[in-house]
Structure formats: C-alpha cells, structure tokens
C-alpha cells in the first residue's frame, strides 16, 4: 500500500506539499491518501509530518516492472 495510513493528522498540509507525486490531498481539513498508485515510497511525507502521523509500507500498490526477474 506504499503510504499506508495517516492517523492523528493536524491538518498542517506539510505532507501534501512535500509529496513529489501529488499522492496526498486535503479533505475536510485532514490529509487523505488520494492517489496511492503514484506513491514512489520516498518517505518525504513521513519525514515532513510534524506529528509522526504517517505510516509507510514498502509494498507498491500496482504491479512493478523491473528489467529482469
């Protein structure tokens, strides 16, 4: 699930702004994971969150293409 959950959001929007891929949006004053398929699992949102509200997972939510397997 990439960015997995947001618990205890204080509505500061730091994660929304710091996400390079526009994954997170505000809804009713709280951050929500709007576009999980576009998460690149870089953790910037988690690092910018001032209240440690964001939990990450290393798993991508869509199939991953690599050069060989």
């Amino acid at each position: 699930m990439t960015i997995k959950s947001i618990n205890g959001c204080i509505g500061c929007q730091e994660c929304v702004k710091s996400c390079p891929c526009d994954v997170i949006r505000m809804e009713h004053g709280k951050a929500v994971i709007a576009y999980p398929a576009d998460c690149q699992i870089c953790h910037l949102c988690r690092m910018y969150c001032p209240v440690d509200a964001i939990e990450m997972s290393p798993e991508k939510s869509i199939p991953v293409i690599v050069p060989w397997g």
Binding site: I33, Y35, I41, Y48, V66, P67, W68, G69
Partner: protein
Amino acid sequence: MTAPTEKPAPNRREFLALSGATAGAASLGMAAWGQNFVEVDVDAITNTDFATDVLVIGGGMAGLFAAVKAHDAGASTMIVSKGRLGSSGLTPFGKGFFVFDTDVETDTIDDFVDTVSRSALGTSNPAYTRQMAEHSMARAADLREWGYFDQTLSNRPFMKPIEDRDIPLLERVHVTHLIKEDGKIAGAAGFRNDAEETVTIRAKSVILCTGAGGFKPNGFPLGDLTHDGTIMAYEIGAKVTGKEWNDGHMTRSDNPAACYDGWGDMFERVPSTNGVEVHHDLGVDLNYTAYMTGNPVAGGPGAQPSDGDTIEVEGGPQTPEEFQRDFGAPGGDGEGGGPSSGEGGAPGAPPPGFEPSANVGGASAGMAIHKSEGLVPFDDRCASNIAGLYAAGDALGSHMSGGIYTQVGSSLTGSAVQGAIAGEAAAEYAETADTPVIQDVRISEIVDEILAPLRLDAGYGPAWVTQTLQGIMIPNFVLYIKKASMMTAALAYVEELRDHHVPMLRAANMHELRLAHETRNMILSAEMKMRASLMRTESRGSHYRLDYPDMDDVNWRAWINIYQGTDGSMQLEKQPFDTWPT
C-alpha cells in the same frame, strides 16, 4: 486510517455520453481505454497571468540558485515549481555535496578535470567540469549560511534566501509549455494541481531547472521527473543531447519500488561535503551479467544471499583499468549496503544501488547521467540555442560529468554552480531584452492544448499508457543491453504510443491532467533514447551495444544532438567532443 476518495457521480452530460456504453472498466485505476468521468467543469477553468524578467522553472538545487542569483543581479525573478521548493526532483535525496578545497586537495583542478575526462572516456565537457570545481566552495558557503548542512529536509533552508529577497514562488504548478515569439523566449504556461486554473507567465528570460527524468521507474525517487523541461524546449526548437546514456542504479529484489528502503537511511541524513573521488561505476555491467547468464547476479531475484562473490563473464561493458574497483561483500547489515556518508558512502565503497548484492537493475530506468542529458549548451554560461532560454542542473546536457557518473557528490554541486551561472546570465540578458508580447490568440491555443485531456469523452488512462511504455522500454534487452533489432522494434511501439495514444490521453481531474502531460513527455523522451542509442554504433561508458561492443574513436568522439526538423520529425546530428555547437 484514510482511504482514497470516492469518485463523484457523473454529471448529466457524462451520463449522456455513457448511454449505450460500457461503464465498468472506467472505475479501474489501470483501465486502458474508457469513458472519461470528468470531475471538473472545464469551461469554468480560469487563467491567471503573471509577468517577470526572469522565470525559473523548477524548485530543486539548480532552481534555488538560479532564482537567488538572478534576483541579486537585479532582475525581477519568479520561481514556479511542479512540487515544493527543496522537496521535488532528486534534490531532496542527494546528501553529498562535492567541494574542491584547494587547502585539502593535493592535485590541481587541471588534474581533476583530466581525471574526470579519462573516466568519462572523452565524453565530458571540460569547461563545465572545471567550472563546477572552481565554484564549488562558494556555493557550499551559500548553503551553509542558509542552514542547508544543519538538517535533513531542504525546504526550510531553501526558503530562507527566497523569503529574505521576497522572490515570488508558485508551487504545485505544472508548466507544460514554453512560449517563443519572434525567435526569442517569451514565457511559459501550465496549470495548478490544486485549483481549476491555468497559469501563464510572460518572461524576458526563462531558466529551465526542471531536472532530468525517467519512465517513472521503481526504486529511484524519480516519480515526478518526466523530462518536462527538455520536451517543452525541444518543441520550440531547442537542441537536446545525451539521451543514449543510462544511469546504472539498481534496486532490491524485495519490494523493488521501495526507494527509501533501498537506500538505507540515506534520505534522512544531514547533507555533508566531500572531496575528490572520481569513479567509473557502470551498473550496466551487472545488467550484462544478468543478460548473459540468466540472472545469477548475486542476490538477484530468487538467488541465495550474497557471499560477496561476483560471477565473471566474458565481454560486456568495460571499466577502464585505472578506475576498476572491487566492491567485495556489501558493508554493514547487507540491507542495501548503506553507505556511511554522503552520496558515495565510505571512501572506496560502492554508491548505494551499485552493490553486487540483493539487486535487480533499472532502478532509474529512463534517466541518463546527471548533467549529461538535456538542452545542448551553446556556451559555458548555460545558454541554449533559443535567445533568452537557459538551462541548469540536470536539465542542461552540459556533460559536466560525462556519459558516466564520475565525481561523487558532483550532482548537487553542479546544479548549484550552474544554477548560479545561469541566473546571472539570464539577468544580464533580461536587462536589454524587450518585454515580450504574446498574442491573446496564442495564449488561448496553449490553454486549449493544456486542457485537451479533460475535454475527451473517452480516451486512454495515462497510468495505463505509462505502464505500457515501461513494459516496452525497461526490459534489460531494450534499454540496457542494446542491439539494433530490439531497439527498432521498441521504437515502433513508442511511435504507436506517440501517434495514436498521446492524442487520446484522458484526464478526469487536475491530478490526471498532470499524469497525461507527464506520460506524453516520457513517450517523446523514449523516442529520443531509442533514436540516439541506435545512432551511436559503438559502446562507451554507460551506453552498451551488444552488436557494437567496442569503443569507436574514429567515428564516435562526438555527442549526439537531437532537434525537431521542419517537418516535425526528430533529427539527430553529431557534435565532436571538445567543440561548441555553432
């Protein structure tokens, strides 16, 4: 716990469009062709117009210095960034900043420039290598003053000089078009991620600090970098170079898309400076081992944990003897072989993503080499062939490093140095340039082009087209271990996407509008990569041809420049090493 928002019910017009059609597929994220459930009222989208002397596009290291130095040189300056200052592109993730400290280094800058050139097999541009080293201490001093070396996250130290100078900053605005009038740059246009609004910016000079890009690959934080600047510039007549080079970073076989995990804790480190350390780390040599022996690269998918031994194969990409290193067993806990400092880790250690253990190739698929793809520089001050248009950092094909990444930490330094030089050059140009005049009809044409994916009643999902492009380009036997037959085949697929799918990329909202434009840019970049790779009938540095495995100094001491022909087709030409274009 939060969840993705539900799609709103289609409005009346969309219901009418749906009548008689199959609606089911459109609710799937990865659906290919389908109805476009547009969530915004396209006709109500407004345009906001700005004007400035110098417009800086991009909010990374190059963009920061371009804006600060253009402002300090007296130009009214504005920055526009697709993301947030210091939190977009590759800048947030680089932690090593190279400085050439004459009090510490025993060799001269001349020696350093020569060493880079030898590792780069002649592909480096010594003027840009030298400039990077000469200005490195001054840029590090600027950054130190702003607090960059005191913390992990770049936004606050980057904001300091911008706020001190009151430089206008537009964030989360995706620029899609450069505007040229009477042969000179006149501005740029794009749209906001967070509002139903297009944006036009009239500017006497524009500096592209838009980074390079990839195919939204897995395992490298390139997701927002899709060669936007390069493609915009190409479309108004700029020349582009360096597309045949391949960055060689690898990723882990477990959860390959997890870039943070693949880089140990590097993303959370405080940036630091490092001195001279010139390498020739290919990455593509491991792609070759996998190709020739059926994926026994130590630690590859399904393999046993590495004991540090690497399998020897005949042939393949060669590292010059002077730069050969034995990485040996991964250091530390083996979890990505986390380096101890900076981008390159401990002296002598492989950079993260280059260890011959627990890896699968192609983390950065679609990216060439830092500073070696992008606009062709026409002088040593970051000018393009279009009057008033400059580029800096990874958006400039300066070949500062060459067709392989050579000096550890030079990526951030090169962006800072080139940003500053481009900022001053652009301010100087703007001082005597006339205020551009852009006709309303031109603005309206551009706005129509920007919003076209929102107006389609049906079309191809940009996420699906991107995945299709990844499936064509990323396989080892296309992008890395190159041969004419496969590249010709891949090019045919890419041309199909270009001609048939690009015009039908759909978008339901501003997020998907961004994906649609990004997808289009990646497709054009893929075409450039295949055409340049087919043209370079030799192997050199990070470009490896199975059908031309040797370096050809008779015919190929030259860079490849790409430009749009008068009929709109992609044209390629050679530019000899050690020369400037005319």
